[in-house]
Amino acid sequence: MTDYWLSKMFYDLQSAEMTQAWREDRAAVMQDYLLSDEMREAVLNDDIAAIAPHVNAYLLRFYCAICGMTDAEFIDSLQPLAETAVASDG
């Protein structure tokens, strides 16, 4: 299910000023968004597989890029979702 505030934070991080603020103190930036404890924890722990089901895939890619992840690292971080999908398919 889409998490509006998590998505809004990622959307806002597209501005250079917000990106800089994020890199300096992500916890401070997060205070401005009504994030659930679960999502706050997932972001702080860089748990991309936990975040992914709750945000648009394009916004997630952008977010991971500004966090300094390479595309290869990003794709690796998403693989638990593929394993979950295979498991639920049978």
Binding site: T2, S7, Y58, L59
Partner: protein
């Protein structure tokens, strides 16, 4: 009245700009040759106005206000906001066409459509990578038509056909004698921010290209509605191609080039529809 002078489509993978300096010569060669041929054909058609059908990549719209369709009606639009694209395409602004933009919206309302409007849109890589790579001598006035191809729920393929026909009708009823082209950007197969990111669906691409060459509306609609949920999320941008196809009346098309360019994470197609030009 204005004249529909042609319909075109091309992919717009952002890595074409972001990774331009490090792409292999082979990939760069394909990209340059394909876009340049498209640009040559477009310039030969001498458009005064170009209706560019594209998705918005979280630049103009967000979840608090996400139109399914939005038409740019202003006299001027903003150039690309992406830092990776500005060095390649350093246009702070691009010309719009308020007369045709407004006429398209009026025609839409009259015909039972309800698009949102933008008096000043940011034109992201979806519009600006093709414009950059086609190396047009003069950029025609751009009337952007944004379609939500990014976030569910998205417009049906049937509705995209209707939009293509609507755009053609608006062109043919616009007084003034301008030459107007339609350009769909996006696709073909790609996957972004999913576990399959980087993978392509070449059979999907090939089926799309085959269908645009001669399949009827029902076959294209049924095939895409069935296949799109099963392939990478970027393939939803094929809706832009459907609109370009429908605008020209589905009279078949010339595939300029197709290549599964894994380096830029996209099945890249470049095409011109046949018609009255």
């Amino acid at each position: 009245m204005a004249e529909l002078i042609g319909s075109f489509a091309a992919s717009h993978a952002p890595l074409i700009a972001r990774e331009w300096a490090t792409l292999t010569d082979e990939t760069r060669g394909i990209v340059i040759a394909s876009y340049r041929e498209l640009g040559k054909r477009l310039m030969e058609a001498q458009p005064d106005i170009l209706v560019m059908v594209t998705t918005d990549h979280w630049v103009n719209f967000f979840l608090n206000n996400l139109p399914s369709f939005c038409v740019g009606v202003g006299p001027e639009h903003d150039g690309p906001p992406e830092a990776f694209l500005k060095p390649h395409f350093p246009h702070d602004t691009l010309p719009g066409h308020e007369g045709f933009g407004r006429h398209l919206v009026d025609t839409a309302f009259h015909e039972g459509f309800d698009p949102a409007i933008s008096y000043r849109a940011k034109l992201d890589h979806g519009v600006c990578i093709p414009l950059w790579q086609m190396a047009l001598k003069d950029i025609p006035a751009i009337v952007p038509v944004f379609i939500n191809e990014l976030e569910e729920p998205m417009p049906t393929i049937r509705r995209c056909f209707d939009w293509g026909k609507l755009i053609a009708k608006a062109i043919e009823s616009f007084p003034g004698g301008q030459r107007i082209g339609v350009f769909g950007t996006g696709g073909l197969s790609h996957s972004i921010g999913e576990p399959t990111m980087g993978q392509l669906d070449v059979p999907f691409d090939q089926r799309c290209l085959e269908m645009f060459g001669g399949a009827d509306e029902d076959e294209i609609t049924d095939t895409l509605e069935d296949w799109l949920p099963r392939t990478g999320n970027g393939a939803h941008e094929v809706r832009s191609w459907v609109i370009a196809h429908a605008a020209m009346g589905g009279q078949g098309f010339d595939l300029i080039h197709y290549a599964p360019l894994f380096e830029v994470y996209a099945g890249c197609g470049f095409a011109q529809w046949r018609g009255t030009t």
